[in-house]
Symmetry: C2
Subunit: 328 residues, 2 copies
């Protein structure tokens, strides 16, 4: 069974790359920039190039769905790149194609705050997709860089589905109906995304889970089964948001970047500022088997489990990473 996780941001190391292999994870989408500007993002691409060179028996750069086949044939994990904020492209639309050429395949139009392109989910007001945002979505469509609205506001997200000529994604979030976290997505948002062929990846980040770190596997998998019934089995996958081994300074960088001098706790709080502990049944990349078992236990059949665990993301990658007009 193919396993694809469409969002991770670990503190990467040989140990984690080995765990990816132990967990038989064929492909991951990793965040390589939050608030980095273009030059800083390039340094992150460089760091990955060094890891690909050094650990080429464990990982390889992923650019196309076919790279996942190659990864499986050679016993490696294909690593696809994305950004959680459009800061990497600065104010320069020409960088969309440059970043795609370097390997970027997902870009969030905003991260919690208003960006040049869209509103973030923490803004009091969401005025929708900006003038520049409309141009950038068109350019992302052209080159094959997927619009990701995981951290965007509802109106911006729904408008993005209308403006985009290709399916978009919410790589990591859960239904708001299941657990009303600010980052989880309301029915009309999930519907707009999935109706256009888009995808939602289920998050295992405790702030997105009912009962947070104490969420049970059964509860999580039951939510997946109900979401499949409601929005279609073909438009859902995993986007674990696994931030393994990251020091708390990193969650602070994610939340605060350089946009404020004051602390911002995001989904946390003053008394719960760091990374929350993961559920005991999903601590790292070796635990994808637990998810499969959990899905079986809530009554999903083998084909449905295959779709959720990787098949759907594979087909989405296949269609949406290539330049417009080159789709198979």
């Amino acid at each position: 069974m193919m396993r694809i996780d469409c969002l991770q941001y670990a503190n990467w190391s040989e140990e984690i790359f080995e765990q990816l292999r132990e967990g038989c994870v064929d492909a991951i989408h990793v965040t390589i920039a939050y608030h980095e500007n273009f030059r800083e993002t390039v340094l992150n691409f460089e760091q990955w190039n060094r890891w690909f060179e050094k650990y080429d028996h464990l990982i390889m750069k992923g650019q196309w769905a076919s790279d996942i086949d190659r990864a499986r044939e050679t016993g490696r994990t294909a690593v696809f790149f994305g950004f959680q904020n459009p800061s990497s492209m600065e104010d320069d639309i020409g960088l969309v194609e440059i970043l795609h050429t370097l390997g970027a395949r997902f870009m969030q139009l905003s991260y919690n705050n208003q960006s040049l392109l869209a509103a973030g989910c923490y803004e009091a007001e969401d005025a929708g997709i900006t003038r520049m945002g409309r141009q950038v979505i068109k350019e992302m469509n052209r080159v094959g860089l997927v619009v990701d609205m995981s951290h965007s506001g509802d109106r911006s997200t729904i408008e993005a589905t209308e403006i985009s000529e290709r399916p978009i994604a919410i790589t990591h979030a859960n239904p708001y109906d299941w657990f009303p976290a600010l980052r989880n997505k309301k029915d009309n948002v999930i519907r707009a995304v999935t109706q256009n062929g888009g995808m939602i990846g289920f998050s295992l980040y405790p702030h997105h889970l009912k009962d947070k770190s104490n969420c049970t596997l059964e509860e999580f998998c039951g939510m997946i089964a109900r979401t499949a019934d409601r929005y279609g089995i073909g438009n859902i996958g995993i986007g674990s948001d696994l931030c393994q081994n990251q020091p708390d300074s990193v969650v602070e960088w994610m939340r605060v970047g350089r946009w404020t001098k004051r602390i911002d706790y995001g989904e946390g709080s003053a008394s719960d500022a760091g990374f929350p502990p993961m559920p005991h049944w999903f601590k790292d990349n070796r635990d994808f088997g637990n998810l499969e078992k959990g899905l079986r236990d809530v009554g999903m059949n083998a084909d449905e489990i295959k779709a959720v665990m990787g098949g759907n993301w594979y087909r989405f990658f296949e269609k949406n990473f290539v330049p417009q007009g080159a789709q198979s």
Copy 2:
């Protein structure tokens, strides 16, 4: 007959792209940076992306030798990128792979002056390849970025042939024995480059020609025939150094960049500061037929002419643009 020109730096326009097609030029290597830093070089890649999008019936991005086949099949010119100075990679060896990923295929280790990597041909002293230069050559070898020593000093060039594990190039220069310009290459330099499978591309820039702008076609082609006899028919090609339609401000940028506040005339002089007029038989890309005729008239046979006009560069591209270990 395949036509490849391994160095041009025109003031690009639809008119020149059309002339490339009229002249049946299948591939060109274009300079996209002299003194630009990384971010400025990326802006130049962006400009070319826009041209590829707008003029996709005339030109296409060239990355591999096979792109030349695709260009021929679709009646277009494949455009390969290079730098005449390593300023694009700044002091960051990680940018070598980044720039190759973006499409760079040639990089000069120096341009007239001392660089971080090698001495330029205008320095009074040439101390050879630097500590960083040795590391960068190795990295260029690994990723498939060709070392170009057109504007480097003799000692640096010969050392580069010794350090490089893959063939290197002098993309645009002529033999010093034929015309003793500072930029033309002495016998021991050409021998070192070609003995290792490297290439020399013959320049039509008047400062590199006997009698400069008045050089005759016969004189130029006779020089090519003699060079073939001396160093082998398999290691020579064209690198015209055509700088069509460039204003004189551009030759000043090439020579002066930001390294001096005083004017430097390079190969020119105070009384002859601008671009010199091209020979009447090679004014633009429509004149490659004249070169073929000239080579026939000095007695070269059809196979030899094919080798010089493009066949040799094609084989060189095929071998040297792919990552080390992936060579066919």
